[in-house]
């Protein structure tokens, strides 16, 4: 199996991006955005994770099979979240009297 050589400047660029995003996280946390604080923090965290997975963990240069398995990991996490949230979101749907509140 051959490995593509990743230029050092690519690693430096990713490293700088991670640092900048970390600083952004800290700065944004000090600004009052209400519920958007959470959304911004999570978005930045996801971007950082993707950068680490693609470049530092070499998934970008890996085979399709490796990418499939990485994708499966995230897909399974999505299953967990979607099904749990389907419970939480639909708990109030039942119309009229319920057995616990009649």
């Amino acid at each position: 199996m051959t490995h593509q050589v990743v230029p050092v400047r690519a690693y430096v660029a990713v490293f700088l991006a991670l640092i900048i995003l970390t600083i952004t996280t800290v700065v944004v946390s000090r600004i009052e955005l209400g519920e958007y604080n959470f959304i911004v923090a999570i978005t930045i965290a996801v971007i950082k994770a993707v950068l680490v997975i693609l470049f530092f963990m070499h998934v970008k240069q890996s085979s399709s099979m490796t990418k499939l398995f990485v994708g499966a990991g995230f897909f399974w996490m999505a299953i967990l979240l979607v099904f749990i949230l389907s419970d939480y979101f639909s708990r109030g749907w039942l119309p009229g009297a319920t057995w616990w509140r009649s």
């Binding site: 099979m65 499966a72 990991g73 399974w76 299953i79 967990l80 099904f83 749990i84 389907s86 419970d87 939480y88 979101f89 639909s90 708990r91 749907w93 039942l94």
Partner: protein
């Protein structure tokens, strides 16, 4: 040995008032569950038969990562030490499910020690799964295509997918439990702002698929045994192979059926109920295909096949009663009763342990190079079957009549059925003891086995000498015929060799 706490438990239920102090009984059934689920059923077939047989079955000299394999053994031992320490220091009383907030806030027992044991042993499971996946993808011998893989390997591949995708979630759940218990972070305990149903979601996201981690390797064993002792290739090979993967995938979408009465949304419950019915389809495909394989086959009744018969019958009862439990209205009636206990013991013991014993007998000559005494083995298989049914069938009735699980005492009218169950457990214990004795004897003193005593198909039986040396094959084997070629189809001509 690890089933012992359950024996004490059944002894306790000999009389309506119970023989042990109630908190002792709580600790007994908890440790029984933790040890049997996390330290026996999950690793049993993959870590023993799987580690030994997957490499020769695919024509490899060893697993892809032998050192990681050894590491997974060490990790298992470390996890086991934590769990045993929890027992020695006084035990745990939460039930193997560690439900919060009892486990995170109220229990005064060694929850953290036991939880660390489960957490650590999970990594052992993940590494085993990782090793099998890479081995099956990368180490197959020439000619060993996916459509020629033994169904034992297919089953282990599907199991490995669950181990790798599911186990991290139980690890995270245990960490969160520890954070709440030690740091009082409000995650599951309503008094701290948490949600106890969230724990059940996270716990069962792993622990329901874990049922398939336990049973799928057993199904792989049964496929091998049924084909060999029917002298026929497996009926519907492709369906049996893909049904393993279908069980692995669908198994991740049904966990909510454990939460029907926990306060889960009715709409979510309906979806989980429906998908739980779907997962019965691939399981039924396997049972029907094994039966069709036997149909007009040249069936012989050697010990492994007796266990396979036991598996097919008992797993079918266990599986069908699972559909009762997946039905929301029926589940309300029988949830947390002995009906549930009977159901999952029919799957786990009647299914998985039967398959494990069948597999141990089937491959014993390959693993040790010795033959076991067939008469004793058949007798033990019969004792196990009778003991098992006498233990667990009365529990279906007990549960339906309303006897709750996890209570040290019960109403007087349940005594006859409980005495039957305790008697059956004693017979079952003898049934397990007999193979322990004659297999240990045969390992040393049994007559030498020929290379392939059953006339079975598969690269592991073509490999010589028996028992195999450390690296299985001196020369890489070539697979040049279909899997389970008992009908004797022509082997492919090898061009250029």
């Amino acid at each position: 040995m690890w089933a012992a706490p359950s024996r004490w438990g059944w002894l306790n239920l000999l009389t309506p008032k119970g023989l042990f102090a109630h908190d002792t009984y709580n600790k007994l059934f908890t440790m029984h569950g933790i040890i049997m689920v996390f330290f026996f059923l999950v690793p049993s077939i993959p870590a023993t038969l799987g580690n030994f047989l997957v490499p020769p079955m695919v024509g490899a000299r060893d697993l892809a990562f032998p050192r990681i394999n050894l590491l997974s053994w060490y990790i298992y031992i470390v996890g086991g030490i934590f769990a045993i320490t929890a027992i020695v220091r006084g035990g745990v009383d939460t039930g193997w499910t560690f439900y919060a907030p009892f486990s995170s806030t109220y229990s005064n027992t060694h929850v953290i020690l036991a939880a660390i044991g489960v957490f650590v042993s999970g990594f052992s499971s993940i590494l085993t799964g990782l090793n099998f996946i890479v081995t099956v993808h990368k180490m197959r011998a020439p000619g060993m295509t996916w459509s020629r893989l033994p169904l034992f390997v297919w089953a282990h591949y599907a199991t490995s997918l669950i181990q790798v995708l599911g186990t991290p979630v139980i690890a995270i759940t245990i960490v969160l439990l520890g954070m709440e218990r030690v740091l009082h972070a409000g995650i599951f305990d309503p008094a701290l702002g948490g949600d106890p149903i969230l724990f059940q979601h996270l716990f069962w996201f792993y622990s329901h698929p874990a049922v398939y981690i336990m049973i799928l390797p057993g199904m792989g064993v049964i496929s091998e045994i049924v084909a060999c002792f029917s002298r026929k290739s497996i009926f519907g090979y492709g369906f049996v192979a893909f049904s393993s993967v279908a069980i692995a995938v669908l198994g991740f979408l049904v966990w909510g059926h454990h939460l029907f009465v926990a306060g889960q949304s009715m709409y979510a419950s309906m979806v989980f109920s429906f998908i739980s019915f779907l997962v019965a389809v691939p399981s039924a495909i396997k049972v029907f295909n094994w039966t069709a394989t036997m149909y007009r086959g040249s069936v012989s009744y050697d010990t492994p096949m007796l266990y396979a018969f036991g598996f097919i019958g008992l797993f079918t009862i266990g599986g069908l009663t699972g559909l009762f439990l997946a039905t929301m209205a029926v589940d309300v009636h029988v949830t947390d009763t002995y009906f549930v206990i009977a159901h999952f013991h029919y799957v786990m013991v009647g299914g998985m342990v039967m398959a494990y014993l069948g597999g141990v007998h089937f491959w014993f000559p390959k693993i040790t190079g010795r033959l076991y005494p067939e008469g004793w083995a058949k007798f033990a298989a019969l004792v196990v079957f009778v003991g098992f049914n006498l233990t667990f069938f009365p529990q279906f009735v007990l549960g339906y009549l309303g006897m709750p699980r996890r209570y040290a005492a019960y109403a007087d009218e349940f005594q006859i059925l409980n005495v039957m169950s305790t008697a059956g457990a004693s017979i079952l214990g003898v049934g397990y003891l007999i193979p322990m004795i004659y297999l240990a004897w045969a390992w040393r003193y049994g007559p030498k086995s020929p290379q392939n005593p059953w006339g079975a198909k598969g690269l592991e039986w073509e490999q010589s000498p028996t028992p195999p040396p450390t690296f299985n094959f001196d020369v890489p084997p070539v697979m040049n015929e279909p899997a389970y070629n008992y009908s004797g189809e022509e082997k492919e001509v090898e061009i250029g060799r």
